[in-house]
């Protein structure tokens, strides 16, 4: 029940920024950090108390002229990697970050191999096949004509 009341109403609060650049960074940070107690919401959208606290914390740190890395480090130190929607690149996440590129490369290599082997196989089988004899060619022509005639 508690959770549902968090979920349903959008979080809107009113911080005054002296610098529009800071306001932009505020939204970006709140967008990329996950609310530690909610199911799957960033701290910008969540109405949970902790998300509100964290927004206030970001606001204070921005006003204290901390840079983005310092703010993110602070959050990770307290709540772990869980708060990062953009996981850090480290051995546990190599597959996550490099996997897609690797699969793409692999897929393209497979495509090249398939096409090459197919061309070879196709040429092999079709070069050895005897061509049509005269009577067969005539029969084929006749067949094609009747088919076309029917379609028109």
């Amino acid at each position: 029940m508690l959770l549902s009341s968090f979920l349903l109403s959008a979080a809107i609060d009113v911080y005054k920024f002296d610098d529009p650049e800071k306001e932009k960074r505020f939204h970006q940070l709140a967008f990329e950090l996950r609310c530690p107690k909610c199911q799957n919401q960033n701290i910008a959208d969540s109405n949970a108390e902790i998300a509100q606290d964290l927004r206030t914390k970001i606001y204070q740190m921005l006003n204290a002229d901390k840079n983005d890395n310092e703010i993110v480090d602070y959050m990770v130190e307290r709540y772990g990697d869980f708060v990062l929607y953009e996981p850090r690149v480290k051995p546990q996440t190599y597959l996550l970050w490099y996997g897609p590129g690797l699969f793409l490369l692999l897929g393209l290599v497979v495509v090249v191999l398939i096409i090459r082997s197919r061309k070879k196989a196709y040429n092999d089988t079709h070069n050895h096949e005897p061509s049509l004899s005269n009577s067969e060619a005539k029969a084929l022509d006749a067949l094609l004509k009747t088919k076309q005639g029917k379609k028109q």
Binding site: S4, I12, L96, K119
Partner: protein, 652 residues
Amino acid sequence: MIPEIGEFALIIAFFLSVVLALVPMYGASTANDMWMSYAKPLAMGQFLFVIISFVCLGYAFSQDDFSVVYVAQHSNSQMPIQFKLSAIWGGHEGSLLLWALILTGWTFAVSRFSKALPLDMLARVLSVMGIVATGFISFLLITSSPFARYLPRFPADGADLNPLLQDFGLIVHPPMLYMGYVGFSVAFAFAIAALLSGRMDAAWARWARPWTNIAWAFLGMGITLGSWWAYYELGWGGWWFWDPVENASLMPWLVGTALVHSLAATEKRGVFKSWTLLLAIFAFSLSLLGTFLVRSGVLTSVHAFASDPERGFFILMLLAVTMGGSLTLYALKAPNVKSESSFSWLSREVLLLVNNVFLTVMAITVLLGTLYPLLIDALGQGKISVGPPYFNAVFVPIMCTMALAMGVSIAVRWRETTLQSVLNKLWKPAVLSILIGLGFPFIYGNGFDARVFLGISVGLWIISTVGTEFIGKFRNTQSITNRLRQLPLSYYGMMVAHVGVAVTAIGITLVTSYSEERDMSMHKGDTVEIAGYQFTFQGTHVVKGANYMADQATIEVVEDGQPVATLRPEKRRYNVKNAMMTEADIDASLFRDLYVALGEPLEQGAWAVRMHYKPYVRWLWLGGILMALGGLLTVADKRYRQSSPNQEATHA
């Protein structure tokens, strides 16, 4: 009494599906015409009894029968009738019943509209769908019956439906989505039937293609509707969050897109047959996986309304049997498939293969990102999150590259094309889209923006290559109208769908780059300016809905002294659960949305108000609609209404 009839009808449907799964299949393998001919009436009976069951549940909802547990949990006597009825699929059990209804409906449709199919093929297809229905209906009966009762003491009133779901979006979004998910079972059934019969020729692709396109179009519409619903209903103005449940629907759509293209190549050129079969198996398996992810609650996400390990286990078994069985069959039979033709390096076949690689890698990426946190957690490596920044970082480069290939593929012919002719066709669109892409951010925004350049160029590249190719069709004709009529509908479908991709790409680019948002504390009479629009807060008053009370604000929007809109966002409190909900108000138009949401009351009569200016946001759904429309146009092509080549031969 009525709910018991519903349960009983479901049990009858279960037995019919068991018979459908066994008898026609056995008939097909022993060439027994009589046994095969049971398939059609069984498909009809199965559908009929699931309809009866569904109507009974609907009746229980409409009559506020709170002795039924499912009704008591998801409805309330105060709810308007349309939400009582759509509450049928507002929870786990009813969603599954809707799933079963759509599955048996598709089965029935296949039995009716496949006159051209040979009897043994039809028997096998319907039997495979009967197997799937057996799995799902037994899942319903064993773990998730919607007809269970609270007896003898039942609640006086229901617990109410989640207010987020009391909305038009919920009436239409799930049925659309399920039409797509379940529709892939038809392609799956055709693939399995082709593998079983050993006839993996181009004919199966022709039979399966219209069904696959329809399913794909529905799934696309379902996703589009879901995105639109999240946008206006969740109150934060986002339209895609890479939530696991969104991902669960995106994966089958991506693989389905690959399948739609690969089927085209198989049908027209007799190539990639075994790959197409594999895609058909995976598209449906991913639909099942999506169901597992959503319904088991393994992923805690916004959508996990129901979570129960026993149910999750059942779907997992269903998934394991489906995938294990079909992949084993594939491994045994697919190596026999021979290609019917060859093609050169620069041919549409190769570009379609490349497209398939991209789409498959995208689907794998979504899968990886969705399951990675689970994997890391299961390995005891701690808890991590994978969200929008990750997906955006990985998807944008892949999508842009694929969009480039899309433009090229339009200019390339089947079999073989010379590089010269491709370059001749493409250089003008390339120059045009790069120039406009470069200029656009200077004219529309305040200077160069790499993201905007990329998005606009890519979108225009797709549109201009499609346009060039289309105009090229008229080069040697006298009568334009005749030529317009001669072009097959599937060609129009392809063009519309590709333009849809471009429209979505442009929409995404512009709305992410040029949106403006302000969160303000506003007193009565305060004015805020965003993107040239003046928003004036005129205060709030209380309004009463059918089952909620709301504070409704009035906000006047003025541009250059001219009134543009009066927006009335609400903060609702639903009576039954005391749930608070933000109901945003939107002034929508093709080129921009003005979006206002009402937050909390602050001190001295002020309110927190969030105002958005969202340019071109409609384009991303417009593109989704165009893609779905393209898929449907292709189905309307007259070659799918002709009788099969086999029949032509017998008549000749």
